[in-house]
């Protein structure tokens, strides 16, 4: 699949402080890409560089294969919808007037209002909206002019359970239509559910870019095993050269060499009864914590 957006060695500085440091990654077309990182890691700056709000000092940015400079940044931003930090809305306008302001066609407005379930309050002044309603309007404005790329910075902020569920459905259905999403959020469990790819940023540098199946696969390197005699099982497996460790009421077996059949055979042939087996799941939160701590260590060194 082709990439809609490519960052090549992009560097952005504020004074002497490098906010983005030689950053390279790619965004596949039609994918939902989760941008993850601690506060101040450079996520919002990446988004603002894509939107042309911030110029960058070094490196290159390619949109649909075309190099984007300050002269042609319009070609990218005109095909991009965004919700950055907070919804861009005027309190003296109604929701519907916002769509008129951005010259949306009636058919597009009807589609988006229907999609977001905003029909009941779209003609009310924005001052009467709750935080979640404003957030929904901000997302609707990002989607209104049929963009090819949608950038959402903390879209789940302030949304209740139902609204979060609706937003997840909307992002996934729009992605199926070919729209690419870059979503930044600290609600990692939610991001995990919608993302096809994950980019982890720390201190303006990329820690990793991976797909969700690959990320989950990282956790399948070890198994948690419960038997009727964990001590005996551990001893037996150690004798056969497996890497085994205690894990509370169970034992943990390293499976980086993919030897599941081998160690199961050893246990069964020695009449040890298997009560439970599961692979240690690597979720986004675990991966983020592990790699950020790792990159901090490297950075500090």
């Amino acid at each position: 699949m082709s990439d809609i957006l490519v960052f090549k060695n992009l560097t952005k500085q504020f004074g002497k402080h490098k906010v983005l440091d030689n950053l390279s990654f790619h965004i596949p077309k039609g994918h939902v890409v989760g941008l993850v990182g601690p506060n101040g890691s450079g996520k919002s700056t990446i988004m603002k560089c894509i939107l042309g709000i911030y110029p960058y000092e070094q490196g290159a940015l390619y949109f649909e294969g075309q190099k984007i400079t300050s002269k042609n940044v319009n070609q990218m931003s005109s095909k991009t919808g965004a919700l950055i930090e907070s919804p861009s809305i005027y309190p003296f306008l109604t929701g519907m007037q916002h769509f008129k302001l951005y010259s949306a066609t009636k058919a597009d407005v009807a589609d988006v209002v229907n999609l977001m379930g905003m029909g009941k309050y779209i003609n009310s002044k924005v001052t009467r909206y709750s935080f979640g309603m404003k957030q929904k309007l901000g997302i609707a404005l990002a989607l209104i002019n049929k963009p090819e790329l949608v950038i959402l910075d903390e879209p789940m902020n302030g949304l209740d359970l139902m609204a979060t569920l609706d937003l997840r459905k909307i992002i996934m259905s729009e992605a199926q239509r070919g729209i690419t999403f870059i979503v930044s959020s600290h609600i990692l469990s939610e991001l995990e559910k919608i993302s096809d790819d994950i980019i982890l940023i720390n201190n303006g540098k990329m820690v990793f870019q991976t797909t969700m199946p690959e990320l989950r696969g990282l956790g399948q390197r070890s198994y948690i095993l419960t038997t009727n005699d964990n001590k005996a099982a551990k001893k037996l497996l150690l004798q056969h050269g497996f890497v085994v460790a205690d894990n509370g009421s169970s034992i943990q077996i390293d499976n980086s060499a993919r030897q599941l059949n081998d160690f199961l055979t050893v246990l069964i042939e020695n009449h040890i009864e298997l009560l439970d087996i599961s692979h240690q799941g690597m979720d986004l939160e675990t991966a983020t914590l592990r790699y950020i701590k790792g990159s901090r260590g490297v950075h500090n060194d």
């Binding site: 603002k48 939107l51 042309g52 709000i53 300050s70 940044v73 319009n74 931003s77 005109s78 991009t80 965004a82 950055i84 930090e85 907070s86 919804p87 861009s88 809305i89 005027y90 309190p91 003296f92 306008l93 007037q97 008129k100 302001l101 951005y102 010259s103 404005l141």
Partner: protein, 153 residues
């Protein structure tokens, strides 16, 4: 740029403060008109639009400050820059809209001067009376309005 101008005018006409400012101007001019009744040179107040020029300047300063600061206050400036990618153009169109608003306020000021004059002074001190520079009160008023317009807008 046309898109940007349309957006700016759309925002301008939907702000209550902007819509009510001609009424504020009228109220202030009427106050000056009525309170000047017992002073000496009443034609002077008429030719000076009952201090409308000064009131208009204040209203315009408020409007032009608001038209820029509201974008930062509501965080909408990011959306504008992302959409148009030209900070100068955004600022320039805002100033164009303020200038247009200034023209409209001067129109209102002229009408209000006539209304306030009749409310405050009745038919005495007619607009056709000869006043400064051997010109009529109306000619003096027009000179004031145009000079104020070119000075402010």
């Amino acid at each position: 740029m046309i898109d940007l101008l349309k957006q700016e005018f759309f925002k301008l006409v939907h702000q209550k403060g902007i819509l009510f400012s001609p009424l504020v101007l009228f109220g202030l001019m009427l106050f000056v008109g009525i309170s000047s009744k017992h002073t000496g040179d009443l034609n002077y107040y008429t030719t000076q639009s009952f201090a409308g020029g000064e009131w208009l300047d204040i209203l315009l300063i408020i409007a032009s400050a608001n038209i820029v600061t509201m974008e930062f206050e509501h965080g909408t400036i990011k959306h504008m820059i992302a959409q148009h990618n030209n900070r100068f153009l955004i600022y320039f169109t805002k100033m164009m809209v303020v200038s247009a608003y200034c023209v409209v306020l001067h129109g209102f000021m002229f009408i209000f001067t006539i209304v306030v004059k009749y409310i405050s002074y009745g038919s005495t001190h007619p607009f056709g009376a000869i006043y400064d520079n051997n010109q009529t009160v109306m000619q003096n008023l027009m000179t004031f309005l145009f000079s104020n317009f070119f000075l402010v807008c």
